[in-house]
Symmetry: D2
């Protein structure tokens, strides 16, 4: 039984903190758990280890390991994975808990690609991936994945940039491993993870061998630097409810002469497989995305429905349409997750979520999250932008005024709680942050469109029409 | 020459502050100018007095007064008013400067309604409005307008609420004036104005006489309490650029036994005119809204266009479509303002913006602002959500990494500045606040729809069709 | 083995025609098969009997019967039903083949409701439904369903109308049965079916007993009159391709003193169950709708994709977006069908498609079909509106000009065929007809919205939020 | 006084018909007026000469000429032109009357471009254009304009096509003129016009001199062939109301060794000006488009509003939203026309409609016309797709049933008339035809987007932002 308890993870984090280079608001951080804001991000990851019934007995390893690491072999495994991610997100108040989800997304795609590369090029990556997988699963580790390079001038390829390190690049090949330099953006919960998996961000071509690299390293590896975004949803909103207990951070992750031993290198120079690995990870991770996003939507749906009642407008037709709008958003994502699981691609003994349905769900989410926010705003009213502060609400004299005058069909006290939550969801820095995430996390809309059209079989419908025209 | 200088306004504010009851984050504020955050809101209003070429010679008053107080007599006056509001907003970096705009919106609607009421009911409101108007114009005052009641249970009328004061109500009629109780929401820049005009929020009917009231009072009147919303766009975002110099606040404005002398009472018990006054003010103020919103859009348009270049994606078709989307948003609003001015309704010697076109512009803005934000996010990339903090950027060591790695087609330094602005506009608490404002300020979408269908002449097109069918 | 051959159906139709009262373009029709236009509608239904592999062995009946009549007992049965309808539609060139689909939709809902009514009110409807079902299945009949009443003034209930028969009503109760009067709109393929099932259109209440009626009759019953809509998609477009071989018609179906024997009466006076029956049928039939609509979409998708190539614009980004738009339309409908089947409601031993997902699919179809058409138009170009006629294309001299000048990347000949099809789909009377169908067939958007919000469980997400706020 | 009467035009047409080569449905047409269908198109153009108050006194010509030929010198002229086109469209029951509108659009753009070319290249086109203009105006002629080439493979330029004549090309240069070959698509009302103006469809470059040509010819010029599209909106819908009296046709217009004398050649080989001429004409003609489209919308708005009442659903909120949707469509187009006129570009002594606002109006129309149709369908109900035919309505016996059962809040007789019109507008071949027109006529959406982004001044807003960031 290898499943860790929350406390074990926290102890590991305390230990790990000593050797890590982490910056927050211009200062080097010594301990996550002692930091007034960042401790919440750490505790969020810690909740992973408290999630009920999170293990399963794995026959190959002969151990009970985390369900996140269960390699999907069929539709049911993928449906269970969808439910796991959904439920774990609900468990964390609608906030995704990324660490083992993204880590396993990366591991599954590495398993598939390494097998193919080995077969074609006679390498031995699969064994290394498999060893790493076992190490991770048996130690029940928290993982982060760094994929998106900082990219520089988007009109140029990696090798054409003014600076060679705007995409992560191998700068030196040593006997016992490689040295890399560069930076990755948006690495979620990186510095509270124990391990970091690094994947290429895109397809590469001849001449870009040194950019075609995948590997893993401990997060306290020398030369790794994490610069954490400001947690404004909490530090900037004293009345926040969700972010006070659950949020995730991203870092700009800098690799300065970072050494990776060979046994941790999973792709090196095989530029023909860089794009496939990137896409495969994207598919697994977008499946994860539509799963957690449906749970996030529950926050919007529940708050909108309750505020409609609190305001006394639950019978207005435009309010009904707002609620339906959010229902459609949630359920179209769930439908796409379910069908993605059912119609999975099976390759190298692993069930891959169907990229068509996964991308449809993600694209729908990209394009329509703004309407979910707008629906909540429409129902909540302008007051969520002009709501007095938490400090006012904690001042006894002012509180009395507020409870008197912010009464709706519900009491002032109850309605104010709902308004605070609605503000957090729809009229705060959390909102702004989410708007961007919902558009760009797990790939931009263009990325999903490219993926969709590439995978879609147009030949069948073309033949259908050609036969009619014969 | 009555036009005040900035310093005169600031002195008046200092004086005024002594007697005002203002709260911010649970504490009573003694001086706006000495407050680290709130001084910016005061200075924002002060910029009104620095706006170049802001006066005109008024023949009736035989003085040079603020152009905001020029009563519109024809299309040109309204077109000039549109341009004045647009330019003044551009002057304040895209942030509306409300004080004399909303004040004059209220005064013009009071002028029209008071004349009609006087004629029908033999009252003498017009003279009182006129006197007040001259007082305000000659003293070049900063004004605020409180209209939206807190409203309680939206399914009930004012008189049906559990608490009689969920709509502002006359609680006592005295020999020399009236006493009012209640609260108004969303009073913009209230506590930095010198005068507050109070208008009814909706149509009233028999039995609601005591809710049918309009008046004005100095902002330091006894019993008035202002609770300011938290300025999170500044206090919660250390890298803010716009909000550091320009923002506006709203207050929950509480009236506790506030006395209003008769000469300042502009409507009292004439419930039949309450709705007309509310709508007329809404029309003037929505015309103001589409004027300032076009200027606000310039921020989004310019930032999107520059970031497209900075990222090296200015030739991508989806980027072109994002830019076009913002152009359409801006220009449809401007078109509606222009046509609203051209096809104005002329009544009681005042040119009223055409409510059809004003509402079309506002409705388009309500429904499409989210797409403007999404367009900027699409072009800017996910980095605006995960951008390291201002404190990191001020740390010399980290700064060097950031400028190296956040380079695009533009240098890291230049691109970071654009990203900071893009973050403020599209991924911050300012964004969340704006989303709500753009949906609810100057009336909800439902309010505009109701206004539009009420004013639109469907008879003509029905007759057109009936003639065809004859 | 009861499965009929096409010829058996056609013979039955010939016989049936003798006693039926059918009108087309102002004239009484004696024979479908001899009518130059209407014979196609008959042959369309006849194709039902040619669809390959259409039977299954039913254990209860100890016979091979049509798969349409297989009562769904679980998810797989519903998934198979979805596939059956999709494939049969593809078999008919994208045109739905309604007869046994709608008939079984009605039968399944009658089975459920009759069982419930029997249990609650001690009636014996279920046995009658069951007998009728066996009769229909064993004789492999073609069925039509009449549900939508003509409704008169939509602001009034059935019993409040000026004319009592604007909803179908029992006008006389006899010893051996009932007599009904009224009219039903939109009865698809009614007059080529052998049997007509009549269902109530909505919930009824006390005092509306005589409107609360369900029954079945042969289509050649005395007093039944069918007025067929003009088949303009064929008669008005000489270059039509699809409609020349497959289309369906609707009738205004008039009931003039139509007698129904008791054994064919399935609901009578039980007004409390009228709404449930109407909704249940709607659910089954909407599931059918999203199944055939995905197949119809194949026509649009294939034509758009081929025309993009024929025009030489297949690499334009807006063309890719048009194609993606149609893909999303199709796949969201398919996803909703699949999930609807998986998450079915099981009641009275029958698997009912989940009304939430069924309505989501239908609503998405209602709202977005216009965009499918617009996407095809965008890719095809204006030429589909101004294309010379079939007669020009059959004139040798003109044909040569046309093939020369309508050349694209494909030859003139090939491109013209595609343009003719694109015209039929997107710029013809078929288009107009379809636009209305896609909005109103199987219920309006309002109907789906009402269904969705009624069935959706908001309590769970409300509780989720309430727990967070505790 | 040169203004012709209807009869004079019709006589001219009779004369003209003798020498023209016109095909309809595979047959050569000898006389428009004697053709059962095509006479309506001729009479439609004839209505141009009956439009009340259609002349103005032109000082230069010293004659009263058609207002269409009034060269716009300022905003008022353009506003009057907008009103002229709008009113003339209303006069023709919502159907555009193109002949002198498009003709003058072409003449104005030729006036401007010829002057510029003359100045730069020392040619003498302007005089020829001016002479032609006077000839046309003084004879009050009906004009057509052929611009869109058939284009072949859209991925290739004119000179790269397999067939050199897929863009109209000069095939021979003679002493007295040029000979052209090729074909133009979509020439509206070509064969009922007396003159045809031919313009280039796009920008040309070096090597494409022979494609860079503009000229005019009488419609009965030898070698010109007109193939008219089938008039399905009339021939395919016996219950049509509008099309029975007013419609316009388009032709595929073939040029087979057509000779043009030098005095009628307005551009030849000046490839640098081909694009400017094409765009300038597009701008004038799109201004015309948004003017006639607002009048067309009146049909939809009036019919929707009346049918809402006829159905008894005028108080439903979704019906209100449908009506508002159509109002927005109409008024945004009108706003764009008005602002386009006000903010015109003045060049070569001619006021050109502002291309930004013109394109915004047109683009809005392109994207939203489908929603106008959908709104009408939503309100009208499914009955417009399944409405019995005109022949049924003319059969006395059936008529009685129909009037009884199609009763709404209005009588059956009145409602049926509205339903017939609604069918024509939203569920007929006219609908399909219009959908394509509203997307492609006067240029595709891509064309408008390209025009918009090219003309828009982004520099100002970029500078605004750059100044903020300084």
């Amino acid at each position: 039984m290898v499943l860790r308890k929350m406390e074990e993870y926290l102890n590991s984090l305390r230990e790990n903190d000593k050797h890590k280079e982490v910056y927050y608001r211009g200062k080097k951080i010594r301990s996550f758990l002692e930091h007034p804001t960042l401790n919440i991000a750490a505790k969020h990851t810690a909740k992973l280890f408290e999630f009920p019934d999170r293990g399963y007995y794995d026959e190959t390893m002969n151990e009970e390991i985390s369900k996140y690491f269960k390699v999907p072999r069929n539709s049911d495994d993928l449906l269970n994975r969808h439910t796991l991610i959904y439920n774990n997100t609900v468990f964390c108040k609608g906030v995704f808990n990324i660490s083992q989800a993204i880590g396993s997304d990366a591991l599954f795609s590495l398993m598939i690609v390494s097998k193919i590369v080995d077969r074609k090029l006679n390498t031995n990556y699969y064994e290394k991936v498999q060893n790493y997988y076992k190490y991770v699963a048996k130690n029940d580790l928290a993982l982060a994945v760094a994929q998106t390079d900082v990219k520089g001038d988007r009109s140029k390829r990696p090798s054409e940039q003014d600076d060679p390190y705007l995409y992560l690049k191998v700068s030196e090949v040593k006997k016992d491993g490689i040295v890399v330099n560069g930076a990755k953006a948006h690495t979620t919960q990186s510095a509270v993870a124990e391990e970091l998996i690094v994947l290429p961000t895109r397809a590469m071509k001849e001449g870009e061998e040194l950019y075609s690299v995948a590997f893993s390293i401990p997060t306290n590896t020398k030369g790794l630097k994490f610069i954490i975004r400001p947690i404004e949803e909490l530090e900037g909103n004293t009345s926040s409810i969700i972010s006070k207990e659950d949020y995730e951070f991203e870092t700009l992750t800098i690799f300065e002469n970072v050494f990776v031993p060979w046994e941790r290198v999973f792709l090196f120079k095989e530029y023909n497989f860089s794009g496939y690995l990137a896409n495969l990870f994207a598919t697994f991770h977008r499946f994860t995305a539509i799963s957690y996003r449906s749970a996030l939507t529950d926050l919007y749906l529940g708050t909108t429905s309750l505020l409609a009642k609190a305001n006394g407008i639950e019978n207005e037709k435009h309010v009904r349409d707002d609620i339906l709008n959010i229902i459609l958003y949630k359920e179209i994502m769930r439908m796409s997750a379910i069908v993605s699981a059912l119609k999975n691609n099976y390759q190298e003994n692993i069930a891959i979520p169907n990229p068509i349905y996964t991308n449809i769900g993600k694209l729908y989410s990209n394009e329509n999250f703004i309407k979910v926010v707008a629906s909540l705003i429409d129902v909540a009213g302008g007051i969520i932008a002009t709501l007095p502060s938490e400090e006012d609400l904690n001042n006894d004299e002012l509180k009395a005024y507020m409870e008197k005058f912010l009464k709706g069909k519900y009491s002032g006290k109850e309605r104010i709680k709902l308004l605070k939550l609605a503000k957090e969801l729809a009229s705060s820095s959390f909102t702004g942050y989410l708007l961007t995430l919902m558009l760009h996390a797990e790939g931009s809309m263009e990325a999903s469109k490219i993926g969709l059209i590439r995978e879609y079989n147009l030949k069948d419908v073309e033949t259908f029409v050609e036969n009619i025209l014969k």
